[in-house]
Subunit: 148 residues, 2 copies
């Protein structure tokens, strides 16, 4: 089992970051504009990416205001299914620190390398979205390679 | 043991990417302007970061033109010492693919989360530097959090 790990600091309150992680408009503001579904705990959110012609369905496992959000991937690329994603929030001065984990990958293959870098750029989009009101969600996301 | 993994694609030749990874001016163009030392295999390169008031000494373990570059961290933050970094290069159409690994971390602590995101932004700086001639090396690097 191998994990993707990241850490960013957002100059905003934990509640503002939590809203960006737990509402459909919030998620559409930084990850992909094509976000639909129900973001309540126990429900499933659909994230779609036009360029890759695919996406992910995430079951919301947990959402503690200002503290943690956890998802399980219930549909998407084979390597993603059954993996879990968590965002742990804490405060450090003017920053809300987001510790990100995408855990439970079976193999550290080339696609996992790609997803790790792509997550970093999307987390920077989350930071920008919460701080300024405008992120870089798909289809306006940063292109990192031939895999988009 | 846990690893940091990334993948980017640079629209340039493997030789151009290799030069950016194996010469002092190349490294200074995307990672930190304060890069000194000898980049030959077996020698040590000093990378210094003014904001963090610290840096890393890397022994060059291997450098195969257009294929792979490997370093070992011989001085720097305690968590980095003894870890290894590798860049594997390959061609895919118009892209040179860089598979990046920073391997041998003892613990997946908060600093490792930070370094993973920071590596992603520096690899995007490498891509920009090779493609356009101008990267975002320290002290002009992208700030991701309170830890810079």
């Amino acid at each position: 089992m191998v994990d993707i790990l990241h850490r960013i600091g957002v100059t905003a309150s934990p509640d503002d970051v939590f809203t960006a992680l737990t509402t459909i408009p919030g998620l559409a503001g930084w990850w992909t504009e094509d976000t639909t579904g129900d973001s309540a705990v126990g429900s499933v959110i659909q994230f779609r990416f036009p360029v890759a012609d695919g996406g992910f369905d995430m079951k919301v496992l947990d959402a503690q205001p200002g503290e943690v959000v956890r998802w399980e991937v219930v549909d998407g690329p084979e390597e993603w299914i059954g993996t879990q994603i968590r965002f742990d929030l804490s405060q450090a001065g003017d920053y809300t620190i987001v510790l990100f984990k995408h855990e439970g990958w079976k193999e550290p293959g080339e696609f996992m390398h790609h997803c790790s870098t792509k997550w970093a750029t999307f987390l920077m989009s989350l930071k920008k979205y919460v701080e300024t009101g405008t992120g870089d969600p798909a289809p306006h996301d940063v292109q990192i390679s031939n895999w988009h």
